[in-house]
């Protein structure tokens, strides 16, 4: 059958592929009628839509690829024609065509304008001197970073949200940084005077100089024609090598103006509640539009809501955009700032409740209406309550707790969390209400945050609502009685982390004592391996000793990986993937002599498959004699530390990544954990070792090592988060030690570092506080525990070979130790063996491979 290749009947042209444009495309294809449209996109920027909101994170290592908002194949799957770097230059509404810079002429049945805004640059003398920048695109931040390398002082013109973000970036680039703000306070739009004062103090503490109530009257060039200084309206002259203008944005409405569409007084293409312009075939969404309520929104959430409205309407659905809330929560230069609802208390009769603690830099204000409802507020320095307060303010219902309690610190009787009303919007990025989340949990039987995120989309935008989301989900689960129990299994009403603490604190060294004192029954295949792993993490000798042998899953029990036909695979450790020719030859010889199938693994080592249980000791005898050790491919423990070749050979490498990888692999080998641990070290930012997909990954910088944690390949891939930068080796190792031990202490059964980190309360910041600043006071403990692991390590296989008692377990049959299991059979394939499939006439290893491989009697 040939696929239908007819083009959809109607032409839709989207101008602008920014955040809102992309959301529009996604929303369009969520509609049932989307198939009617053939979509063409004209994009001015050279790359598909990316996350502008997190642009600043590019300076701290987030790559352009990671910022991308367009999943692989999205365009292809929907047959969208995307023309990058080809802006629209004119619209002819009579012929219904759009012309692009490259000369394309596109006919449309519907035209959607999503051209965003441009940064406003005040027309002061010298505003275009080389060294002056704006802050909007990836090209802008690239240019800023390139020039910052030669600059000492930077000035940001504008002390609003974006200006402070830009100042933070300059500061992080090592520049002496000034912020010049025309208004009497920073972030005048969002915070009031009290909040502005606290914010200013906090920002000055970080070494950024703040000049408020002063305009920039000129930018002066030096003899080289580049920026030399900025002159302020109060006469001050500030020397500067770099200037970033961040004095607000203006809607990009020129296309609309040129084709005679009405625009607002202060810019912005006028649209109705359907997001339609005066021409019913033309729509405008996002920052380029002036919404039906007369406002031009400079935030992404209202833009998304407009995108969804237009998409629905284009597919004959119902939807309206009548206005949105301007709440924001940000972390600026490490200072938390939030404002929500009506932060300035403009409503008649509104009262303020404020709390200020200048010492700790906390300012909170709530605006309360005459009927006792919360109207809005400002939070500086401590925005914990934002997730709950904002929806409360938007819901407009009277408060159920005295407002003072909502602003006081917990220690002073505050922190009573009111229940989030069903009507209140919990996630404003995707407009999901508390009620919708509760309904999803109740009616669809969802049992975890991940499922709720997937199903409702809540929490998948800016992430600021995640904490509230998890509270709502947890409470709802508890209320409906279907709370997912975190109990390990029917034998232990404890989590793995709790059991770990019990074992550690009580000094328990065997399963029987533990299950008799803290559990019930005999245990099972869930709790036994967990306890085995805890005992091993706490250093209780060989994993096959005494009762521990009875707890191990078959892989750990035979120190090899069970295969589908009952045979095992053998993986010797190859630290960092580095191996001598002699050792390579030994592996080859062992495989040949035992007739095993060999394969290079995804972990930079070699796997030998097809050994019967009774062959394992003989295989390992050869390997151990040649200097190999167990690779722990079977254990929930360190697998490999992959390496790239690094500075030693590679012309780009800036550090010796191979040596570090080997050192780390030798340090952590044998460390038992809640799940397997993987690592990698790359010698430069090209990242050939794929360190960011690892539980802990290290990338070399010219100043040291950047440490990333919580990465995962596998089922749910996740890029690791940057934990610390430019560490020297000793600090790096200490930090990894603590990270691993903290994970081992607190993670759930079979929970890799990625989901653990996502679940960890306080997230990355908390982790940093624990491992770098010792916020819990446990660092010495963690260090000591790792020291014990390192000094106590011994190769498990060598120990087995030395002990006849342990060796006795490696027989196929207890009553016939010399008989190999006749049911483990193979057939040849590509000159090696593979397990026989059901019904296939397979033969035991010896008969099949060894004889022909030695060339005898063919």
């Amino acid at each position: 059958m040939t696929a239908p290749t007819t083009r959809p009947p109607k032409e839709l042209v989207l101008v602008g592929h920014g955040m809102v444009g992309q959301r529009f495309l996604e929303a369009l294809y969520e509609q049932p009628g989307a198939g009617a449209w053939h979509v063409t996109v004209l994009a001015e920027e050279p790359r598909p839509a990316y996350d502008r909101v997190h642009l600043t994170s590019w300076f701290s290592g987030t790559t352009a690829e990671e910022l991308s908002l367009v999943s692989d194949k999205f365009m292809e799957r929907h047959g969208i024609a995307l023309h990058l770097g080809d802006p629209a230059t004119a619209v002819d509404r009579n012929t219904r065509t759009v012309t692009s810079a490259s000369g394309r002429v596109l006919r449309y049945d519907a035209l959607v304008l999503a051209t965003g805004s441009y940064p406003f640059v005040p027309p002061v003398p010298g505003h275009d001197t080389p060294g002056c920048h704006v802050y909007r695109t990836l090209e802008d931040v690239r240019a800023i970073r390139a020039e910052a390398a030669q600059a000492r002082t930077g000035i940001v013109v504008g002390g609003g949200l974006l200006g402070l973000e830009a100042a933070g970036a300059l500061r992080a680039l090592g520049l002496d940084t000034h912020v010049v703000e025309f208004a009497p306070r920073l972030m005048a739009l969002q915070v009031d005077e009290g909040g502005g004062a606290v914010l200013r103090r906090k920002i000055e503490e970080l070494g950024v100089r703040v000049h408020t109530g002063a305009g920039t009257s000129a930018v002066e060039a030096g003899p080289d024609g580049r920026v030399r200084a900025a002159r302020l309206s109060d006469g001050t002259e500030l020397p500067a090598d770099l200037v970033v203008f961040s004095a607000g944005v203006r809607a990009r409405d020129q296309l609309a103006r040129d084709c005679g569409l009405p625009v607002g007084e202060r810019g912005g293409i006028t649209v109705d509640t359907a997001c339609r312009t005066a021409d019913p075939r033309v729509w405008a969404i996002g920052e380029c539009a002036q919404a039906a309520d007369g406002r031009v929104y400079g935030l992404v959430a209202p833009g998304y809501a407009m995108a969804e409205t237009a998409a629905r309407r284009l597919c004959r659905g119902e939807a309206e955009f009548t206005g949105a809330d301007l709440s924001t929560k940000l972390k600026l230069l490490g200072v938390d700032v939030a404002s929500f609802g009506d932060p300035h208390g403009t409503a008649e009769g509104a009262l303020d409740v404020t709390f200020t603690d200048s010492r700790s830099g906390v300012y909170k204000k709530l605006v309360i209406g005459t009927d006792g409802s919360l109207l809005g507020g400002v939070l500086v320095g401590d925005t914990e309550a934002y997730g709950v307060l904002r929806p409360l303010a938007l819901a407009g219902q009277p408060l159920t707790v005295p407002p003072e309690q909502l602003v006081l610190p917990a220690a002073q009787g505050g922190d009573v969390t009111p229940r989030l009303p069903d009507k209140a919007v919990l996630c404003s990025c995707h407009n999901v209400t508390g009620g919708a989340v509760r309904a999803a949990v109740r009616e669809q039987g969802l049992t975890g945050i991940a499922e709720v995120k997937k199903c409702t989309k809540a929490g998948t935008g800016c992430g600021s609502c995640l904490k509230t989301l998890s509270t709502v989900v947890r409470d709802e689960l508890a209320a409906s009685g279907t709370e997912v129990s975190r109990d390990l299994c029917e034998h232990f009403a404890h989590t793995r982390a709790e059991l770990y603490e019990i074992v550690r604190v009580r000094g328990i060294t065997d399963f029987t004592t533990l299950v008799d004192s803290h559990g019930t029954g005999d245990g099972c295949d869930v709790c036994k391996p967990v306890v085995a792993s805890i005992l091993a993490s706490l250093g209780n000798g060989h994993v096959l000793d005494g009762e521990q042998a009875a707890l191990q899953d078959t892989n750990d029990h035979h120190l090899a990986n069970l295969q589908r036909n009952g045979s095992y695979s053998v993986v010797p450790r190859v630290p960092g993937g580095e191996i001598t020719p002699e050792k390579l030859i030994v592996i080859g010889e062992v495989a040949r002599d035992f007739g095993l199938y060999t394969k290079i693994t995804g972990g930079q080592r070699i796997d030998l498959f097809g050994a019967r249980v009774d062959q394992l000791p003989a295989v390992w005898r050869r390997l151990v004699d040649a200097g190999f050790e167990s690779g722990h491919a079977y254990g929930k423990s360190l697998r490999t530390v992959k390496s790239c070749v690094g500075q030693t050979w590679c012309r780009y490498g800036v550090q010796d990544s191979t040596s570090l990888a080997i050192e780390l692999e030798l340090r952590y080998r044998g460390l038992r954990a809640p799940h397997k641990l993987k690592s990698a070290v790359s010698g430069c930012a090209r990242e050939c070792a794929e360190a960011r997909s690892k539980d802990f990954g290290i990338i070399a910088t010219s100043a040291g090592w950047n440490l990333y944690v919580g990465g995962n390949g596998g089922t749910t891939p996740r890029h690791a988060d940057l934990l610390a930068t430019d560490l020297d080796k000793a600090t790096l190792i200490r930090t990894i030690d603590r990270f691993l031990m903290f994970y081992i202490r607190t993670a759930d059964r079979l929970e890799r570092t990625a989901p653990w980190l996502e679940r960890l309360e306080g997230g990355l910041d908390h982790l940093r506080a624990v491992v770098l600043e010792d916020a819990l006071g446990i660092a010495a403990d963690l260090d000591a525990q790792m020291a014990r692991h390192v000094s106590g390590y011994a190769d498990e296989w060598a120990a087995v070979l030395d002990d006849p008692d342990r060796l006795r377990r490696f027989t196929s049959f207890a009553n016939a130790p010399d008989v190999p299991d006749p049911t483990v059979t193979f057939v040849p394939e590509r000159d090696q063996i593979r397990p026989a499939r059901p019904g296939e006439n397979g033969r035991p290893l010896r008969e099949l491979v060894l004889v022909p491989a030695q060339g005898a009697g063919r």
Partner: protein
């Protein structure tokens, strides 16, 4: 001192297979009786269990390498391959009633005893 031996009945005969003391509590071993493979376990109370070694879900002879445990009051073994759990006294699978080949997922149960009886007069 006499060793206590474990015997499994094969047809009409009780066949001694190994010393009771060689069984690790909570673990099993495989035993070959003619062409047939038996998984033999000693639980943590000391009782013996013998079931077929072939895992009906994978077809591999691996049940003896599974972990012992309890589900409620039932003594069970979990297959090491895909972790289905079997009742040690009846051999029935408690997780899935049928194997992929359509046959009932049940392990044959073999009679097993010690001689002299464990804890009996000949006990060391």
């Amino acid at each position: 001192m006499t060793d206590i031996l474990v015997e499994v009945r094969h047809g009409a005969r009780w066949v001694p297979v190994l010393r009771y003391a060689d069984l690790v509590p909570g673990r099993g071993v495989a035993v070959l009786l003619g062409e047939e493979q038996v998984a033999l376990f000693r639980d943590r109370e000391g009782a013996l269990h013998a079931v077929g070694n072939r895992d009906p879900f994978s077809g591999a002879q691996v049940i003896s390498r599974g972990l012992l445990g309890s589900r409620g009051a039932t003594r069970v073994v979990a297959s090491p391959m895909y972790k289905q759990v079997f009742d040690l006294s009846t051999g029935t699978c408690l997780d899935e009633p049928t194997a992929p080949d359509g046959t009932p997922a049940r392990l044959p149960v073999w009679p097993v005893r010690t001689t002299p009886p464990e804890g009996g007069p000949a006990c060391p």
